[in-house]
């Protein structure tokens, strides 16, 4: 099957050659007391809704590593194409890399064929890749966008199953979010209603799920363009800590100074003439 976009050659899944070695190393580290760091996961609530003119995607911004919040302003709505965005739940690295791979494949396809990518193609590429890896890639994705055939919303699971629906929620907070969506969804909603519905769904996820929290991002995709509102709503519990800590020279007092000159002997000298013509 010749495909005009594929960079990644169809390989036979992961190689597990190092798994026994890893188990031995893990056991020998600190007499079995030291644990290897657990993968960073996006606990997550993500949701998407098809409205009258397009698609609204929403996500929270908390990324957790076990019980610790690793990233308070994680971006879970990933760019795929000018008209396609993808929300990712599950293992953060997997969703990030999968969506990047999808984005680059679609860009190559666009350049090769001169056509704009379609949602169904993006969904097929994802499904293809995730099925081949048999669930080892922990990516639960909601793909949404507008193409020449209309507005579409797809979900692709880590084992490679795909569903197409007018409203979706994924991630650990999806039970709460789905409750809000089931109650409030109507076909052909107006933009303001759709944004409110998605915000409410993510908010329900944040309130009811420990793995979701902090801010809410919203991305509106329509024929006219994309409106990526980050953050759409900020958490009430914001702290005032700065990200950068820069101090003036001289803030830390110098107590003593020791200078040790390095004695260097000239061992070898070579001269190379440069051609400066």
């Amino acid at each position: 099957m010749s495909l005009s976009y594929v960079l990644e050659p169809p390989a036979s899944g992961f190689s597990f050659e190092n798994s026994t070695r890893n188990a031995i190393v893990e056991n020998s580290l600190g007499n079995g007391n030291v644990k290897t760091p657990s993968p960073l996961k996006t606990g997550t609530t993500i949701a998407g809704v098809v409205y009258k003119d397009g698609v609204v995607l929403g996500a929270d911004t908390r990324a957790t590593s076990s019980e610790v919040v690793a990233d308070k302003m994680c971006a879970k709505i990933h760019y795929i194409a000018p008209n396609i965005y993808c929300c990712g739940a599950g293992t953060a690295a997997d969703t990030e890399k999968t969506t990047e791979m999808l984005s680059s494949n679609l860009a190559i396809f666009s350049m090769n064929s001169g056509r704009n990518p379609r949602l169904v193609m993006a969904a097929n590429i994802l499904q293809d890749m995730l099925f081949r890896h048999k669930g080892q890639i922990g990516a639960h994705l909601i793909l949404g966008g507008v193409d020449c055939t209309g507005s579409h919303l797809y979900t692709v699971g880590p084992y490679g199953s795909m569903d197409k629906m007018p409203y979706l929620a994924m991630g650990s907070g999806d039970l709460a979010a789905m409750g809000i969506l089931e109650d409030g969804f109507k076909l052909n909603m107006e933009l303001a209603d759709a944004k409110t519905l998605v915000r409410d769904a993510i908010h329900a996820g944040i309130m009811s799920d420990l793995g979701s929290g902090n801010n809410i991002d919203i991305c509106v995709i329509s024929r006219k363009g994309v409106d990526y509102i980050r953050p759409f709503q900020e958490s009430q519990f914001k702290d005032k800590r700065q990200r950068k800590y820069k101090y003036k020279a001289g803030t830390t007092p110098v107590l003593s100074e020791t200078i040790v000159p390095l004695k260097l002997d000239l061992v070898e000298e070579t001269v190379q003439l440069m051609e400066t013509a």
């Binding site: 996961k41 957790t64 076990s66 293992t91 080892q136 639960h140 699971g157 084992y159 199953s161 569903d163």
Partner: protein, 231 residues
């Protein structure tokens, strides 16, 4: 399609969860009741619409009747990912075959392609499929390819977790020589009975009637399903 671990479903890294609930680690299954019936001139196929991940219903309006070709459909049960992938592969192979042969494909060809795939990769796959359709040479035909990759033609086939509850009903009520409308009523009633009793089946009942003239799809919504005296 070589797998290094022997197990059918390998656990993803995200299994070791703390804040992530249990069902996100489960694979997506079509719990399912699926059914197909032959009549003179075509087939009637039916399925429920529930897809589950563990105890959560991931999709309550699934379409398990997947087109393979213009007059050939399949009903999918088992792992959602596996059956979607298999259906895609077989649809591609069948399309190529029909272009090469320059005529619409036969139902038994589609069924054989399913069987070849499901048998060869039987250790890795979890898929129970019913293939049904109409072709010029054989008329309406129903083939069943259960888990493991057997192939057998039957006048009426049921599959999925909900099928256990309706074997008696089907054996008692199926008569050869039914009309299309009778088959549709029979399938609808059987699905309703199974959906009533099986937790993994539910939602709406999707029906499709395939004849030489074409395809007629219909949906029986949850509140319009036939009800029974015991409930």
């Amino acid at each position: 399609m070589a797998l290094c671990t022997g197990a059918n479903q390998t656990e993803p890294l995200s299994q070791h969860h703390d804040l992530v609930p249990d069902w996100t680690a489960h694979e997506v299954r079509t719990g399912t009741t699926i059914m197909a019936v032959e009549f003179d001139g075509g087939v009637v196929m039916g399925a429920d619409s529930r897809t589950t991940t563990g105890a959560y219903i991931a999709n309550r309006v699934t379409d398990k009747l997947t087109p393979i070709h213009d007059r050939i459909f399949c009903c999918r049960s088992g792992s959602a990912a596996d059956t979607q992938a298999i259906a895609d592969v077989v649809a591609y192979q069948l399309d190529l075959h029909s272009i090469v042969m320059n005529e619409p494909p036969q139902v038994k060809t589609a069924a054989n392609l399913f069987r070849r795939f499901c048998y060869r990769y039987r250790e890795e796959l979890m898929a129970g499929i019913i293939v049904a359709g109409w072709d010029k040479r054989g008329g309406g035909q129903v083939f069943t390819v259960p888990i493991g990759g057997m192939l057998v033609r039957q006048p009426v086939a049921v599959g999925g977790s909900g099928s256990s509850y309706i074997y008696g009903f089907v054996d008692e009520n199926f008569k050869p020589g039914m009309s299309k409308e009778e088959c549709i009523r029979f399938t609808g009633k059987a699905l309703a009975l199974a959906m009533e009793r099986d937790g993994s089946s539910g939602g709406v009942a999707r029906l499709a009637a395939i004849t030489e003239a074409g395809l007629e799809r219909s949906v029986i919504l949850g509140n319009q399903l036939p009800t029974f005296s015991s409930s």
